[in-house]
Assembly symmetry: C2
Homo-oligomer: 382 residues x 2
Amino acid sequence: MKKDKLLMTPGPTNVPYKVREAMARPMIHHRTDEFEFYFTSMNENLKKVFQTDNHVLTLASSGTGAMEAAIVNTFSPGDKVLIANTGVFGDRFVKIATKFGLDVITMDVPWGKGVTGHHITQILDSQDGKNIKGVFVTHNETSTGVANDIQSIGEALKDRDCLFIIDAISSLGGMDVKTDEWGIDIVIAGSQKALMLPPGLAFISISDRAWEAIERSTFPKFYFDFLAYKKSLEKNTTPYTPAVSLIVGASQALQMLIEEGLDNIFDRHENLGKACRAAVCSIGLELFAEEDMASDLITSIKAPEKIDIEKVRKILNLDYDIMIAGGQQQLKGKIIRIGHMGYVDGFDLIKTLSALEKALMQVGYDIELGTSISAAQNILKY
Amino acid sequence: MKKDKLLMTPGPTNVPYKVREAMARPMIHHRTDEFEFYFTSMNENLKKVFQTDNHVLTLASSGTGAMEAAIVNTFSPGDKVLIANTGVFGDRFVKIATKFGLDVITMDVPWGKGVTGHHITQILDSQDGKNIKGVFVTHNETSTGVANDIQSIGEALKDRDCLFIIDAISSLGGMDVKTDEWGIDIVIAGSQKALMLPPGLAFISISDRAWEAIERSTFPKFYFDFLAYKKSLEKNTTPYTPAVSLIVGASQALQMLIEEGLDNIFDRHENLGKACRAAVCSIGLELFAEEDMASDLITSIKAPEKIDIEKVRKILNLDYDIMIAGGQQQLKGKIIRIGHMGYVDGFDLIKTLSALEKALMQVGYDIELGTSISAAQNILKY
């Protein structure tokens, strides 16, 4: 029997039926009270999930579009910025900022390691650190399974004249992001990760200080012009045709998140992360991310010696209808990544571990069946 | 009783149940054979609907994003371009091109009038016309109800060293667009119009000659970088996470279009356009668009003297659950627009006319009930 795919991936992730049903309703026009109802509800709940009083803008684009938008709206050619490059997505910030002619100071972090406020302070206090106008950090670096320490970086930046921009594309809605309390000027989120939606929307919160920078930015922009979105948002609308069905879905998904409660959501993910790490370690697998900074939304696992880990991934996908992720770029074939973000509970993890054990056995890895499952069960609160 | 809204608007338009059902299926991952199946099917059918052998790129953005993308990929700051400004959407090209520092020659056309190859030739042969590197025309100018004559413009541009770019955002899939035969270098289409999809996707076909220009363009770009999309398309994928559910829907909608047959689709829209125009004229209403160039996808109608036409629109929406559009910008309150594009048949038009008659009566317009309906019936092939 073929079952619906279980997505244990760092996006796209599973979308609840209620959200899919909402998106499948007959189309409505975007300049109507009915659309405004969904849009307003979404916007109110976005502020709660972003933990902010700031405006949160909604773009019809992938997360990468929103990363570019943050750069071209907030800076001008030649502006000096610091980017923590902790993996594929830190590197994407470097690529975009370089493409647009910013003066990019890259903080190259070995993959699997994370960044804290201490590391950032060191650079800002060095010769290189003068006149840095913005610091970019990926919150949940899905390519390596590391969660960078946004809170301590926020503290380190608190009294500096420097904007703090984070890619929370995969973390928002799954991990704590205290936008206002931690002093994050721009937070970028994507629809298809912890927010339990299909890809196609990006959300961006912008602080007052960032709006001042936006007024000064000299990059030409149109589709991504934040000032146009702000002006429209104040009238409960968007400057260009919004992705109506995705926004209807978002209003539903955010409602579900608020009903579960942010603290419960963060707890659930923390519990899933702990259980997953304990489970894979119980069968002798090694974690790729350094222990202190391992993400609770995604677990990266080193391929055991002489084991064809890509084959394991294929077995899970083709034989058991469970998608996990492989390594990206230089990590291809060297790690696998189990996502546990968004619409995922302990039973989904148990199912995945059960399949993982079987698949590892099939490729010749020595294992006693059930070991990782009971290790997870001992921790899971479901 | 409240019925589902009937969208007789220039987008978003009605989405068939089959398409909505496809989009509501459990989420799939985009780096899989399953996604590739939908993506390939969509791409093959896009070529048929675009009537081209060119690559057709798919962006997760609204049509406006694709208009910007066409400009920043194909030109460089200071390049001279000619833009036919025939309404809100011609003007949008002007705004974007100006914002990005192109040298814009604007051909201001009175709203309600259209553009032909003859008009374009006149400008290209004038002093102003020297060194023009690109000509931009809106195919179906929904703000005024005019369809510009793309075929004759294509002919006029055939032997000139000048790219031809059209906004076919609302026309593609409803009106004939012979991309290759008419020599159109870049055709931009949107999902939420004649293609019967929700908003959130844009499609762009690009000729070999345009690709040469794209190689030369000096604008920085990342999210909209056509070369990255081309490279990915050759591997049946996208550079950034695609809007998976919308693409699954698109593969379904395009399949339905191909099954109906392009000629049948163009006939249906031509017939709807003729019937709608005859119907509104039969009750003494005046058309806004000049007769020769009236669009078959949208009918713009002047407000009769002393009639509050916005009230008519409100009655249709709130009492009869039929959305038609009002006038934009300086036409607000002066015209209404009935869209008949995409998933619309003759019965939808009859229903709309029936409601329009009732609503006009309610606001004091003298009418014999049934007049416009029988006028439409005499023409409709359903």
